[in-house]
Structure formats: C-alpha cells, structure tokens
Symmetry: C2
Subunit: 232 residues, 2 copies
DNA sequence: TGTACATCAGTGAACGCGCGTTCACTGATGTAC
DNA sequence: TGTACATCAGTGAACGCGCGTTCACTGATGTAC
C-alpha cells in the first residue's frame, strides 16, 4: 500500500507525459515551434487527439513545458561543467561551461532555437520559465565570480560604467545572488552574449559557405574570448 | 509612347507588389514568419486571395522577398554608415556601423528576427538571398580593412590560428573580396557575432528584468567591444 | 486616328487539408469501509 | 478479504475555423497595323 503516488496509474501518467514531450520535441525539429501540433503529437503516439488534454491543458502549456525542459537541460549541463571543474583555473572552467552550452546547442539545435532564437509570436512566457532560463548564465557568471575571488580575473576598471548601466547592473547583481564588480559583470555579459551570438550565427547558417570546421572555429574564437574576458 | 515599362499598368504592378510586401511585413510583426498567410495579406489589401498569385507564385516566394528586403535594408544602412564616416578613425566607423545595425533591429524587430533569428523550418533559402545577406557584415569588415591600412588596428598575431581555421578563413577572404589577416579576421568575426549576440539577447527578452536602459547598456558594451576589436 | 487582337489584374468558387478545443461516453484502476 | 463508489485515461464525434493553391471567367489596359 504505497503512500507516495507510485501506483501503476501514476507511473503511467509520468511515462505518458514524457512520451508526449518527446514526440513534441521530435515535431519541433521537423516543423518548428509554430508548426507544433497537438494532433500530430497524438497521432505519433497512436492516441486520439483529445487524449493529450488529459496531460496538457492547451498547446501553449505543452510549449511552455518544452521551453522549461530546454532551459533545464542546458542549465544542468552548464552547472555540471562548473561543478566538475571546481577548483581549476577560471579560464578552464569558463571554457568548460561554454563548450557544454555549445555541445547541447549543436546536438539539440531546435531546442536551442526554441529558447534562444526568435520569440514565438503571440506566446507569452509564463513566470515559471524565468528561473530555469537563468540557470545557465548564472552558472557561467558564478565561475567568473570564483575566478575573481581566486585573483585570477583582472578587476581594474578599464572604462567606468555610466550611471544608468550601473543602476541596471545593481538589479542584475540582485538576481544573481552574488557580487561581481561592474567591470567584471560587463565583461561577463559580453562574453555570454558573444558566446550565444557565435553559436547562433553558425548554427543558423550564416557562415554556411565559409566555415567547414565549425568545431575548430568555435574553439579558436572561444580561446580568444576567454582571454579577453579574464582581462589578460 | 514610353519605351520603358512605365505605363500605368506597370506602375500599378510596382505599387501593388510593394503594397503586398508592406502588408506581409505588418503581418509578420503580428504572427511571425510561420503565421504569415497569403489570405490574410489579400484580406488586408481588400483583394481576393488568388489575386496575390499574380505577384508572387507562392507563399515561400513572398517570404523570400521579405527576407531579401530585410537583408538589403540593414545592408543599406551599414554601407551608408561606413560611407558617411569614410576617412574617420576606424573605431568611430565601426561604432557607426554597429549602431546602424542595432537601430534597424530595434525599429524593425520582426524583420530582424526573420533574418537573424531561428531559421524558418522547412524553408530553404534560395541563392538570391546569399549576396544581400553578406552586405552588412561585408561593410563592417571593410571598415576594419581600411583601419588596418591606416595603421589603426593592431595586427600582431595574438594567438595563431589552427590549420583548419586558416583554410576556412581563406574561403571567407575570397568571399569578402579583400585581404584581412587571420588575426584581424578572427577578431572581426568575433565582434560581428558578438554584436548580433548582444542585439538578439536584449531584443528577444533575455535581459527583460535586468536592463531598463537598453541604449546605454548597448553603448557601453559596444565601446568595450570596439576597444577589444582594435586591439588596444 | 481607329480598329482588332493580345495581355493581364482581379473575381469567385472550389479542392482538400489540418488545426485546437469541447463534450458525453466507456471501461479500467484505485480507494474507503 | 470483498464490495461499492470515485477517479481518471482514453474514445469518437463534432464545432468552427483558416489555410495554400487551382481554375475558368470578365473586363479593362496595352499594342500592332
């Protein structure tokens, strides 16, 4: 007489929910987020379309689940990369996190596009997506914070930050939950957006005819970006 | 008896084509590229849906026209910024080009998302899009080349480029049509993808709760990126 | 300049399609006594 | 342990909708002689 809801029915529910999300993710790869269709998902699972409504109240709710899962997937990897390199030099750690993000993006390009590509028009992200969305950048910036503490990151002001930016940085610091000087935060955000910019540009095909060895190109650019970031 | 086709009918054709694209672009803003519908465009123009087929053979052809127009729009602005600052210091010129790109992106965020956001799934870009797509980055890198010639850009190898990347850079140089050392090309590409990364990250709402003064943030990050780019 | 024919923009009906969502239902699983 | 009731997954039909694209058509505009 199990008190936790691990009855057959509850297990089936968990499994079916996972199956639906997996089918939806496969769909996403074929037709993109706008083409995602509950009916097609149901079809793939050999189930009548209305059955899906036992698990997700609407198409948007399913989409939200996929978005959250994607943020969590990349967040998991970024956090793991940071944890696995704990105690190592900051450059190595930043590199590990960046590689984790890119590998995930390359292996799951449609999930990447879902969260870091064009916003789905008409879709309003509910608040549950906020904290998963922050995990990966937070892991990256935490690595940087550790580097500062270990004295491995140049922290002299290069150019001082204007008042408006300083104020916004205060808000961001609150969100982070740890301290980071304006100088390092500015460099960290540039490195983070630069990382995503590089990934998106290549993944979305803008260097299609120029770069054949995407991995080598990434590694090289990452090494440069990391050096800039640490202020060497 | 005009020999060029500026007869009333030809003029009407040009005007109608423009009207269709304008209506489509308005639609794009509301529903995104996947929601773009020929019928809705026709409706907005007070015309029967099949009439649009006199101007565009299919939905995809209309989409292609919008994509090309967008690339051309940002290309025009980038080239103009480069031309307007001809002879000025390279930092100033790069900044001008970057600002032009961002202003256009902010003012036309859906067109920006169309070309620099997630690729439209199932849509295969025809070759006519390639050269318009190159205009903006080409203008940016040309500014950099001028800077090198004027001795305003540090050109010593910081880290040498691996063989695979060197080969790909050769291809890119051919596409550019002018020379740029591996070192400067690497920095230039990083600055360009970093620029788009910054724009996308902010525009697509990832810093939604953190940055209130987006303009100030951009200017500050741009100033830093430009300094890095020039190798100061 | 005037007439005869060709071109072409736009009409309206129709095709076959897939979509999200609701609803009353059946039958199996779970729970309380 | 056995029975009576409640829960819930999945069914199947239906709703109203919008879509891209084709096609034969009409009537106005353009062109050649």
């Amino acid at each position: 007489m199990p008190i936790d809801p691990s009855t057959p029915r509850a297990q089936a529910r968990v499994a079916m929910t996972a199956d639906i999300k997996a089918a939806a993710r496969r769909q996403l790869a074929e037709v993109g987020s706008d083409g995602l269709s509950l009916r097609a998902v149901a079809r793939e699972l050999g189930v009548v379309s209305s059955a899906v409504y036992r698990y997700f109240a609407s198409r948007d709710e399913l989409l939200t689940a996929l978005i959250i899962d994607s943020y969590d997937a990349v967040g998991d990897l970024a956090e793991a990369a940071a944890a696995d390199t704990a105690g190592r030099p900051v450059g190595e750690r930043w590199t590990a996190v960046a590689r984790a993000v890119r590998s995930w993006a390359v292996a799951n390009r449609h999930d990447y596009a879902l969260i870091y590509g064009s916003p789905v028009p008409g879709y309003q992200a509910p608040t549950d997506t906020i904290s998963p969305a922050l995990r990966a950048p937070l892991a990256a910036l935490a690595v940087l914070r550790d580097g500062v503490e270990a004295g491995q990151v140049a922290d002299e002001k290069r150019s001082s930050v204007p008042r408006a930016v300083h104020a916004d940085f205060g808000t961001i610091r609150e969100g982070l939950g740890f301290d980071l000087s304006d100088e390092v935060l500015a460099r960290g955000l540039a490195a983070w957006t630069g990382l995503l910019g590089h990934i998106s540009y290549v993944l979305f095909g803008h260097l299609h005819n120029g770069i054949t060895d995407e991995e080598a190109f990434f590694e090289h650019q990452l090494a440069r970006a990391t050096a800039d970031l640490l202020g060497i």
